[in-house]
Amino acid sequence: MRIKLSVNGGEHALDMEPRTTLLDALRDHLKLTGAHAGCEHGVCGACTVLLDGVAVRSCLIFAPQAEGSAITTIEGVTPGPGELSPIQDVFCETHGMQCGYCTPAMILTAHALLAGNPEPTRDDIVEAISGNICRCTGYAQIVEAIALAAERMRGANRPMELRK
């Protein structure tokens, strides 16, 4: 079937089997390989993308179901070639990853959290990322990255004289 997907601000008309998951559509049809398959049954969260700003598991959604929604992948939050968003930068600052496989999904989950909650507590952060399994880090440096991102992003929106 022919479907239209709106991804990272661009419109794409694609031919695919109706049973194609959004994850496979992004990876195989649009070559957006930052979304990763982990379990393909909705537990590990490595395939997380944003659907109208909400973090969802792209392995549990058929691509046709995503028609009409704005889809954001990790490629869509990267400001430009070689440039990092503030959230991507703090993950590097704290080393909130090792193998990098769950990382794009973690960062998108952080984007979704911080968009709605600019001052998250540790518990808020833990709750937000509890659907994203990381097997490398034990989460400590990920939690620290998101807390640091929140702090920096709050600071960035404040007049210079009020920043600490």
């Binding site: 930052g34 049954h41 960062i107 097997r135 034990g138």
Partner: protein
């Protein structure tokens, strides 16, 4: 070596690999996109054991997009069985079952189609006629004479049964006033990376070349693939620039690669197999040790443990690759951090009708540490002594290093007492006990868990020769090459894949340190296997020591060459020339100097200014052998297993919900000493990840089977991985006892946290259960089991 000695090492620098990962630009095997690639899906056996009577491919071959269906008979005729560690020729292991399938989930046929989805559709239409056979699942049952044989031709289910006696065990037991026996079981768990295993293989008949991109962490991978496919190793080109999405030991991938390599040659187009999670959990390289320990110790009135007898019975599953060697590695630290004088160790490995086991983080050390640390707690309890005090009485003391344990391994360095003292300075033990007792007084099940454990690191795999006398390997090495090009920029190479350990950062940091240049200026590349130097791959917590050592020495050679060229050009003796931050000056006249650019010009373009007889260019290579290695085991089974020994001291306070059985960790402190930390961010991440993994192995994770031999943990809803909710905040207290054997004083930390967390959790839970008069020594200490035991105990007490 003081910290101020370093310029870049041990400073809080970023990890260079992270930039590509945060942008989703890692290159994992599933991202390799060759034209004309076809996809594999697997047909698997639904029985614990069955004879394959026939395979009807007709319906499947008519399905859309299907190219080929490969069965075990065709593959076996064209290949030789996979390499095994032990000398067990009648237990052949092949990618696809031949005549008999020996576990539920074993691969029986492979379907090749245009897409993975079409291959899966067709796999369901392959009709296999099976005759179910008797099977055995339990390791102790597998030992019984009446049990079915997993491999008839082998004549028994025992792959290995070897007893070592180091020291006067009988005498020490006879003389000791107290003895104690303990049985501990480590459940079948593993590392379960979030990326499953994957491989892409492509055959070029005009160059006789098999190109392989694979998600691996495997020593001698091209050798094994070449041997199985009957190809010269120089016809197997493994691409090392594939990012591996986690491994921690398990990503071996030989059978996957032999299968896809054969198909790519047979069919003439690239073939890829990316496991789905079910294929991974049932028949991939997914399972780890399942080990039963019977421990007996002899000790005196003061709790000094004089001697130990340990039998370890390992259920390796249906076939064996390297996995039985996991009984061998713990021999190198069989007494942990303690001064136990004599040891009897019996290592038994049996085959059963379960999924084949692979290597897991620690290579058998994690389970062994649980047995040792549970034993220490039980000795303390039997004497009415405090478990921390008993450990302190048994610890090797700082002034006793290097310390040789009964099995022949010398520990390089350590200061266990100081690490413990630092943790207790942060969290006073008496106060922690008061907190526990106060919780108990409120009716809660509260417990303190201690574990004092070693992480052997450096990876000279001497267990191979110890457990298989036909193996005479005593060389274990890693390599680095540095080239300064004609424009003066620096490129270094490493020669293996990485799965998140930050090896590019390691190489850059070490070379930057030696050459006194910004590590960011050092480009680090990974040539393919045919243009690589030898590497033992990132196993055995070895790369900081081994790749770090190779990079250090290659950079030292380069520095010496630069200094020699400058001295010659300045017309001064070598020992008057001083290298500093890339230039060289005359000690007696510092204004006389040659810059980096001058030296590059001389080496690359001014042969007339080079010292006579010198090679032009600036390329240096170093192949670094394991420090304190190079020896075979002695006739009485003593061996230097690994060079360096990191120490970790865990201190945990938890409460168990009496209704649910759910443990809740209130405090977690870790004292950690891995010598010099080349990159502290990486060490901390590895350690925290290890603790999380250890908590999983202690409480949640198990590849459980039902009585019919079906794996019942087939998804992440059954095999439970710790989420951010299950991993507590942990305070890590570092101490640094440099290793005298390594270039920067570093030791390994790739297994840190994991090697002690399960033991600490098991001790904490047993401490919490002790007031009820119950004990549980079977890991995982599942919530459901704890809940039932607590309810039973309360019922018996009439509560």
């Amino acid at each position: 070596m003081s910290e101020s000695h370093f310029r870049y090492v041990a400073s809080n620098r970023r990890v260079r690999e992270d930039r590509r990962f945060v942008a989703g630009k890692g290159q994992y095997v599933a991202d390799i996109d060759l034209p004309e690639t076809r996809h594999v899906a697997l047909v698997t056996c639904p029985h614990a054991a069955a004879r394959i009577k026939s395979i009807d491919k007709r319906a499947a071959l008519k399905m859309p997009g299907v190219h080929y269906i490969l069965d075990g008979a065709e593959l076996a005729a064209a290949t030789v069985p996979l390499m095994t560690g032990l000398d067990t020729p009648n237990v052949p292991r092949r990618p696809l079952a031949l005549e008999i399938a020996r576990y539920s989930g074993e691969w029986v046929a492979a379907v090749v189609a245009d897409t993975r989805a079409l291959a899966e559709d067709a796999a369901e239409e392959v009709n296999v006629d099976y005759e179910p056979l008797p099977f055995v699942l339990d390791a102790e049952q597998a030992l019984e004479k009446a049990s079915p044989l997993v491999h008839e031709a082998h004549g028994s289910n025992v792959l290995l049964d070897k007893t070592f006696v180091w020291g006067e065990v009988d005498k020490d037991f006879a003389e000791a006033p107290h003895k104690l026996k303990l049985r501990v079981k480590w459940g079948r768990s593993a590392t379960v990376p979030i990326e499953t295993f994957g491989v892409v293989a492509s055959w070029d008949p005009w160059r006789d070349m098999l190109d392989v991109w694979a998600s691996i962490q495997m020593p001698r991978f091209p050798d094994q693939v070449g041997a199985a496919l009957k190809l010269p190793v120089s016809s197997v080109r493994l691409h090392h620039d594939v990012d591996v999405g986690g491994s921690y030991g398990v990503k071996r991938g030989i059978k996957h690669t032999v299968l896809c390599g054969y198909l790519a040659r047979r069919l003439g187009f690239p073939v890829r197999l990316i496991e789905d999670r079910l294929e991974n959990m049932r028949g991939g390289d997914a399972h780890g040790p399942e080990r039963l320990f019977d421990v007996e110790v002899a000790y005196d009135d003061n709790g000094i443990v004089r001697s130990m007898k340990m039998r370890a019975l390992e259920n390796v599953g249906a076939y064996a690759g390297r996995s039985p060697f996991q009984l061998g590695k713990p021999i190198g630290s069989i007494v942990g951090p303690y001064k136990i004088k004599s040891v009897q160790y019996r290592a038994v490995a049996v085959v059963t009708n379960k999924t084949t086991q692979e290597a897991v983080r620690g290579f058998g050390q994690g389970p062994t540490n649980v047995a040792l640390e549970r034993m220490m707690d039980e000795v303390a309890h039997a004497l009415g002594l405090d478990p921390l005090e008993v450990r302190r009485r048994n610890l090797i003391r700082a002034e006793e290093f290097p310390y040789t344990i009964p099995s022949g391994t010398a520990y390089d360095s350590g200061d266990y007492e100081t690490v413990i003292a630092k943790v207790l300075a942060d969290t006073p033990y008496e106060a922690l006990k008061k907190q526990r007792d106060a919780l108990r007084a409120q009716g809660q099940l509260a417990g303190i868990g201690i574990a004092a454990c070693l992480e052997p690191s450096g990876g000279n795999a001497s267990f191979e020769a110890l457990l298989n006398p036909k193996i005479t390997t005593s060389t274990f090495m890693d390599s680095c090459r540095i080239n300064v090009d004609g424009a003066g920029t620096i490129t270094a190479t490493m020669h293996t894949t990485s799965s998140g350990q930050g090896h590019e950062t390691l190489v850059g940091t070490v070379i930057g340190e030696v050459l006194q240049v910004d590590p960011e200026l050092v480009r680090v590349m990974r040539p393919d296997s045919l243009t690589s130097l030898p590497s033992g791959t990132p196993v055995g917590s070895r790369m900081a020591i081994m790749l770090g050592g190779a990079a250090f020495h290659a950079a030292q050679k380069l520095k010496t060459k630069l200094t020699t060229i400058a001295a010659h050009d300045l017309g001064i003796p070598f020992d008057r020339a001083v290298y500093e931050q890339g230039y060289v000056y005359d000690r007696n006249a510092p204004q006389n100097r040659r810059t980096w650019a001058d030296l590059v010009t001389i080496a690359h373009r001014n042969m007339h200014r080079m010292p006579p007889g010198f090679e032009p260019g600036l390329a240096e290579t170093h192949i670094y052998p394991v420090p304190n290695g190079g020896k075979l085991p002695t006739a009485d089974g003593r061996v230097q297993m690994y060079p360096c020994f990191s120490f970790e001291f865990h201190l945990v306070l938890l409460v168990i919900d009496p209704d649910l059985g759910l443990p809740r960790i209130l405090r977690y402190r870790l004292g950690h000493d891995c010598g010099t930390q080349i990159n502290p961010k990486i060490v901390r991440g590895m350690t925290m990840g290890g603790i999380a993994h250890g908590i999983g192995a202690a409480l949640f994770e198990e590849f459980a089977y039902n009585d019919e031999g079906q794996l019942i943990a087939q998804s992440f809803m059954d095999y439970l991985l710790p989420s951010a909710h299950e991993v507590p905040a942990v305070k890590i207290i570092d101490h640094e006892t440099p290793s005298p054997l390594t270039v920067l004083g570093q030791k390994g930390s790739g297994e840190s946290g994991y090697l002690g967390a399960p033991a600490a959790m098991a001790n904490a839970i047993n401490d919490a259960l002790r007031p009820l008069g119950i004990s549980l020594n079977t890991l995982p200490l599942k919530v459901s089991k704890l809940g039932d035991m607590i309810a039973d105990a309360h019922a018996k007490a009439g509560k």
